[in-house]
């Protein structure tokens, strides 16, 4: 709805602008705004969605600008072909740079892209074929399929049509599973990994996409400027991108369009007032103020205004209802997990020291032990959140100890977290839809599967609520539903009963049995002995990083070593 309103206002404003404000100068401003908007739409995807700052985005504008300038002037290429070649080159460079660099933490991409940009500037200055400091002149006007666009008005509409197409791409990304994944990653990288999302891959994709759009921005701009030199797209132009996107609004691609218009307007205003030196201070101050005071920017403000005017009704709160046990179908391919000689040390502390056990397909196995026994570390080794020092982990005879958490999840291993890790920026249903990420389902299938998983845990009424609006115990259930939406063959639950009251714990036990009844293998890490003894077919006991017992619950209950570990020797003797 909101997008339709935005689209309608966009079209009306863009179409009417040249007819309301006539003249070559305003039309030129309109063209430059459009060119900038083509780039900033992509930059929203990078900064607002992938949360990556790039300080050298103008470097990709240079790639597009020079591709258009040199190919059209020296080789008489068709402008559209040159534009596409430039975009492809920019995307290839972005991919080559980002793929390794996004493995590193600490906003390294920001500086790396700046370094890349400054290298391009030096190369443009120093090499003869770019025209050096003088640049390249006589760039033809833009054309489409051999048709030259003689009038600036026609070019204006072409530029804004491209912007509209880019907005369409941005909105499509927003609605796709990639967009949902990026939102999930922004909320909790740990939980995103547990649903099989490849964090780096999506960030790289956004960097590549934004680079392509920046290159198109460069091409469009030079066909209007008719000249290209190394200073056209300098550091200040990168800053324009950043300020535009922040002032316009980071949360939606429309923010890129709004921001481009605001920034260009502001620049022309300062020029009109003969205060061009103030541009930097004002742009920087705007960036800082908007980020501190109203992070959603101008588009966010408009969206808020829209809600105020045409406000939606409050969704009714729905409590837990009877779970629908038939909502999920049983599976036939439960997985067997085998851990052999797993070891992991932190400094001198051997948290897990040569532990071996098997979780049989279709069983409910519990991993228990006193505080500090190494249960959670072992759990993280199995799920891939920490590397093993030694030993191996196999899933149905397939070695998985070197795989990353998302790769393990993609094999059908679901998990829940001791400290809840829900995506607090999306509602309950979307949280659960994220669980099905690995399946490449379409939107409606994903929705259907998620609703089924919610019904299975008894939360079908809470679909449209935000996780924060639910009671703690219900949030736990959302996490379990998310893990079930992954259609796991093995479900790992990390202390699911912690923080739950007695009746909630009882309900959790029932739910666990229902999950086991579906045929899913369950591995439970738990503190609560009563819960474990009632649920598990098989119990593994750890103490000081080592396995001390392994067997059926009844045998474990009588095991001397277990009793000593839990109660201490003396107390046992006294009893």
């Amino acid at each position: 709805m909101k997008n339709a309103a935005a689209l309608a206002s966009f079209c009306i404003l863009v179409v009417l602008y040249p007819w309301i404000i006539r003249g070559t100068y305003p039309l030129g401003v309109g063209i430059i705004t459009g060119a900038l908007a083509a780039g900033t739409v992509g930059f929203v995807l990078l900064l607002g969605y992938a949360h990556q700052l790039a300080l050298g985005q103008a470097g990709f504008c240079m790639v597009g600008g020079y591709a258009s300038a040199l190919l059209c002037v020296n080789h008489k290429w068709d402008p559209l072909a040159a534009l596409l070649v430039g975009a492809a080159a920019a995307m290839a460079i972005a991919w080559l740079v980002a793929t390794p660099i996004l493995k590193l933490r600490g906003f390294v991409l920001a500086m790396a892209s700046l370094a890349l940009h400054l290298i391009l500037v030096v190369v443009a200055f120093e090499t003869p074929f770019t025209g050096g400091a003088l640049g390249t002149y006589g760039i033809p006007k833009f054309g489409l399929f051999g048709l030259h666009l003689a009038s600036d008005l026609a070019y204006y509409y072409v530029v804004w049509t491209i912007v509209l197409a880019f907005v369409g791409i941005g909105l499509a990304v927003d609605r796709s599973r990639i967009g949902r994944a990026l939102k999930a990653i922004a909320a909790s990288e740990t939980a995103a990994l547990s649903t099989g999302m490849d964090i780096r891959r999506y960030k790289v994709q956004m960097f590549v996409l934004s680079a392509g759009m920046a290159s198109v921005c460069g091409s469009l701009a030079v066909h209007y400027l008719r000249a290209m030199d190394p200073n056209v797209f300098g550091f200040a132009f990168s800053l324009n991108f950043i300020t535009a996107v922040i002032v316009g609004g980071l949360m939606t691609v429309w923010g890129g369009v709004v921001g481009a218009a605001l920034i260009t307007g502001l620049r022309e205003l300062l020029r009109g007032l003969s205060l061009p030196l103030w541009e930097g201070v004002i742009m920087g101050a705007l960036t800082v103020i908007v980020l501190i005071a109203f992070r959603r920017g101008f588009a966010g403000f408009l969206s808020l205004l829209y809600d105020r005017l045409f406000g939606r009704q409050e969704t009714p709160r729905v409590a837990l209802v009877e779970p629908d046990v038939s909502a999920l179908r049983p599976i036939a391919n439960a997985a067997t997990l085998e851990v052999r000689g797993a070891a992991r040390s932190f400094g001198n502390l051997r948290a897990v020291n040569g532990v071996s056990f098997t979780v049989a397909a279709g069983s409910v196995t519990a991993l228990i032990g006193p505080n500090g026994a190494g249960k959670t570390t072992l759990f993280n080794l199995v799920c891939g959140y920490q590397p093993l020092d030694a030993g191996e982990v196999t899933l149905d005879a397939r070695r998985i100890e070197t795989l990353l958490p998302n790769q393990i999840a993609a094999l059908g291993v679901g998990r829940t977290f001791q400290n809840l890790q829900l995506f607090d920026n999306m509602n309950v249903l979307d949280n659960v839809i994220c669980g099905g990420h690995r399946h490449l389902w379409g939107e409606s299938t994903g929705r259907e599967k998620a609703r089924a998983a919610l019904a299975f845990v008894g939360l079908q009424g809470a679909a449209s609520l935000m996780p924060g609006e639910l009671a703690f115990g219900h949030q736990r259930l959302v996490e379990i539903a998310r893990a079930l939406a992954l259609e796991p063959r093995l479900l790992l639950m990390d202390e699911p009963a912690s923080g739950l009251n007695d009746s909630e714990t009882e309900r959790l036990a029932e739910l666990t049995l229902r999950i086991a009844a579906l045929g899913i293998t369950v591995l439970l890490v738990e503190h609560d002995m009563r819960l474990v003894m009632g649920l598990a077919d098989h119990v593994v006991v750890m103490h000081h990083g080592e396995k001390i017992a392994d067997g059926a619950p009844d045998a474990i209950r009588r095991d001397r070593a277990v009793i000593e570990a839990y109660l201490g020797i003396e107390e046992h003797a006294a009893a």
Partner: protein
């Protein structure tokens, strides 16, 4: 290879390297205590330079001009932290980092408006003379740069190793969260390191100005080259960061002398890019990458 040419390139390289080293150190300190990479770090060097050069051109005595520049650097560091970072302490990292960039742009812009587009010059502290060493001719001012840097590094070393707040900073670099749980007052410590980083960067900017001039747009290059040093130390080791900064200065000087002065920046940034690509891509596989992050 001619030894005197080598020395002639090495020594000025060390001089600019001193500035990069101090910037790198500022990056590391701020990042460890606040968790924020402060993109405005290089701008404090620029500000120190333009403030001192402007003050001395107005006839203010040298020690006063230096003191003023350092004061400006320290106060702006404090202001940056209080006004723009303290209010968003719990915002996502990318927001905080983008804010530091906005601050950098404001600082550049203010310098442009206040001091103009033209580079400012400043006389050497002990005149504009030169001295000869190993067949190379070096500006006397280099001695001031080396001396000031050595003094600041020694002070920083003493601070980090033998004072309580220094130990707290080191604790933060090992485990920020644990340090906070142990009672490290992160608020005060953050303010403190921003002041120190701002003041030292400004002083570096002052002492180097008689050699390289002070220009409103020099901050990015100082920041980026200092960043290379900080990256080499993984934003953790102050020592590696300092050595990295010095190394970048020397590399830059050699690139300019032996290859081409036009390409010197491209080569330094090329080294940064190559280093990052190798660290990220070539030797890091599988789950080990998790730890590297």
């Amino acid at each position: 290879m001619d030894l005197s040419v080598f020395v002639q390139l090495l020594l000025p390289g060390l001089t600019t390297g001193c500035v990069y080293a101090l910037v790198a150190l500022g990056f590391v300190l701020c990042a460890n205590v606040s968790g924020v990479v402060n993109f405005a770090q290089g701008e404090y060097v620029m500000l120190g330079g333009v403030v001192a050069a402007f003050a001395s051109s107005q006839g203010i005595a040298l020690p006063l001009a230096v003191g003023l520049a350092v004061l400006v650097g320290g106060c702006l560091g404090a202001l940056q932290e209080r006004l723009t970072l303290a209010p968003v302490r719990h915002a996502p990292d990318f927001i905080q980092i983008t804010i530091t960039l906005g601050v950098a742009v404001v600082l550049r812009g203010v310098a442009l408006i206040a001091f103009g587009k033209d580079p400012l010059s400043m006389p050497g502290f002990s005149g504009d003379g030169v001295f000869e060493i190993g067949g190379a001719v070096v500006a006397l001012q280099s001695l001031w740069v080396w001396g000031a840097t050595a003094l600041m590094l020694a002070g920083m070393f003493w601070f980090l190793m033998f004072t309580d707040p220094g130990r707290a900073v080191r604790a933060c670099s090992i485990n920020l969260q644990a340090a906070r749980l142990m009672g490290v007052d992160a608020e005060r410590l953050t303010l403190f390191v921003f002041v120190v980083a701002g003041a030292t960067a400004a002083l570096a900017g002052v002492v180097v100005t008689p050699i390289v001039l002070a220009n409103w747009d020099a901050g990015i290059a100082y920041g980026l080259k200092g960043f290379v040093g900080a990256i080499l130390g993984s934003f953790r080791s102050p020592l590696v960061a300092v050595l990295g900064g010095l190394g970048i200065g020397v590399l830059e000087s050699f690139a300019a002398g032996y290859v081409s002065s036009g390409y010197k920046d491209a080569m330094v940034y090329g080294v940064l890019l190559a280093y990052l690509l190798i660290r990220g891509g070539v030797f890091v596989f599988g789950r080990a990458a998790l730890l590297a992050r």
